[in-house]
């Protein structure tokens, strides 16, 4: 049994909130720089240059990359041999409040979705998975709502052709357009249930964007998925939406797909779009 104390969890969550919001993920920044090098049009280059400069300023001055510091999505992978010392939910919530206050981030969360009211920092959305072992992995993904608002879910018939699914994914990206701040990172979930597929699409955003040396295991399933991700990225970039939707070669930096078994009568597909400010940070306790 490994004991992890509430205070440790709170402090870790606090640190992750700050880190995620001010330090753009290295893999995202790397793809943005690649995109800048690949763009030909001046306006597209200028927009990407501003995005890259913004990331630099945010990190140097401890400012949020985007004023929409999002609705924090917390992913917990708790080893089944871990014992939590204290109230886990309180520890997480205290961590979010601590981090967001320390970073002077935005209070974007309203308690009553219908009544609205004065926003605060809490609560986050928390997903918990029990896994093997004696460690606890905490990931914080502050999800901005400009792009979250453009997510899409479709329950395909089990006999649907792959082209119909590609069409849905590409059309969802097209509908997102300039409002969701391209270039995007497109998270896709395939399988599961109506709710689980949306979680898959969100989790897909946590995966590191592919660099030249992808370390994925060379299995047949993986190679088919990798091929589909590559093809979708190429098709999406042919749309020419570009940075800020003003035209260009880079409409998306990556397409990440996560799959799960599903029912014989169904084929759920979800697209969760992230803007170029894809922010997440993890720690293993």
């Amino acid at each position: 049994m490994k004991l992890i104390g509430a205070e440790k969890i709170t402090n870790t969550v606090g640190d992750l909130c700050v880190q995620a919001n001010i330090a753009l993920r290295k893999d995202v920044l790397s793809q943005l720089k690649r995109a800048y090098a690949g763009e030909k049009a001046k306006r597209a280059k200028d927009n990407l240059a501003a995005i890259i400069e913004n990331a630099d300023i945010a990190q140097k001055e401890g400012l949020a990359i985007c004023q929409d510091t999002g609705m924090p999505c917390v992913f917990l992978e708790i080893g089944q041999e871990v014992r939590i010392g204290g109230d886990l939910q309180k520890a997480i919530h205290n961590g979010i409040a601590l981090g967001y206050a320390r970073g002077y981030f935005r209070n974007s969360i309203i308690k009553n979705p219908l009544k609205r009211g004065t926003p605060g920092y809490l609560p986050p959305v928390v997903h918990t998975e029990i896994v093997k072992g004696n460690k606890m992995k905490i990931t914080v993904l502050p999800k901005g709502f400009g792009c979250e608002n453009k997510s899409g879910l479709k329950m395909f018939k089990p006999t649907a052709k792959i082209d119909e699914i590609k069409k849905f994914i590409i059309e969802t990206v097209k509908s997102a357009g300039p409002d969701a701040c391209p270039p995007f990172v497109v998270g896709v979930g395939i399988g599961g249930t109506a709710d689980y597929v949306c979680l898959l699409a969100k989790k897909a955003l946590l995966r590191k964007l592919k660099t030249k040396n992808s370390k994925l295991k060379n299995t047949s399933k993986n190679s088919k998925l990798i091929a589909l991700e590559k093809e979708l990225l190429s098709l999406i970039n042919k749309l020419n939406i570009g940075p800020m939707g003003l035209g260009g070669e880079t409409t998306a930096l990556a397409v990440n797909i996560e799959t799960y078994p599903t029912h014989i009568a169904g084929l759920p597909v979800c697209v969760n779009i992230s803007c170029h400010a894809l922010r997440s940070a993890s720690c293993i306790l």
């Binding site: 995005i51 985007c66 974007s108 400009g146 357009g177 300039p178 701040c181 800020m244």
Partner: protein, 206 residues
């Protein structure tokens, strides 16, 4: 980049064309979803507005809190289309400029043309960078809305791209003619099905 300053006069507005780039100095007011709802309710009830809307420029922005020693926190633009339903009435009341990101509705484009105003874009998701152009910040209305309150900002050399000019020219409509039709995009896919091409829906102009 050409410099412009507030207030935006008719003579300035006439010269502004979609796609132009400017750096703006002067006063802008932040206002987004909830503030717009209240402003329009006040207009409909014939009440007084908390800001002088005539010739004003509104910036669709809800900034983060302000760190110690800074004038403002991160303050990039939010999605303008959410304010579309409120915009024609504000333009009628004298609003002359809006700064945000994303396309506007046909109704808003028509109102911009009718009332001779300008819709500007600024760098989306570049909130830390944009904070450098804000020289002062003052809360003027709706404090209870938190980040959605109306703040009066003094800006210097704030970077703008003209989205819609007073003639109704729209940078996104121009861009969308270049956006590939889905059918063209799919043609380059190796697994093509004829049925899919036939069932394609209408084109998007956001």
């Amino acid at each position: 980049m050409k410099k412009i300053k507030t207030p935006l006069l008719s003579a300035d507005i006439q010269k502004i064309k979609s796609g132009n780039e400017f750096s703006l100095s002067g006063i802008i007011y932040t206002a987004r979803d909830q503030a717009h709802k209240r402003l329009v309710e006040a207009l409909r009830k014939g009440g007084k507005l908390p800001i002088d809307i005539k010739s004003a420029i509104i910036y669709y922005c809800g900034p983060t809190k302000t760190p110690r020693g800074k004038i403002i926190g991160s303050c990039g633009p939010t999605t303008s289309s959410r304010m579309d339903e409120f915009t024609p009435l504000l333009l009628k009341a004298g609003l002359k400029g809006m700064i945000g990101k994303g396309a506007r509705s046909e109704e808003v484009r028509g109102a911009i043309k009718k009332y001779k105003a300008v819709y500007f874009l600024t760098y989306a998701g570049c909130a830390a960078l944009l904070s450098r152009y804000v020289k002062s910040k003052e809360l003027v209305a709706y404090k209870d809305l938190g980040p959605e309150a109306i703040y009066k900002l003094e800006v210097k050399d704030f970077p703008l791209i003209v989205g819609i000019d007073s003639y109704g020219n729209d940078i996104y409509r121009e861009a969308s003619t270049k956006i590939k039709k889905f059918s063209e995009v799919l043609r380059s896919s190796t697994e093509l099905s004829d049925g899919l091409l036939k069932s394609e829906g209408g084109e998007h102009i956001w």
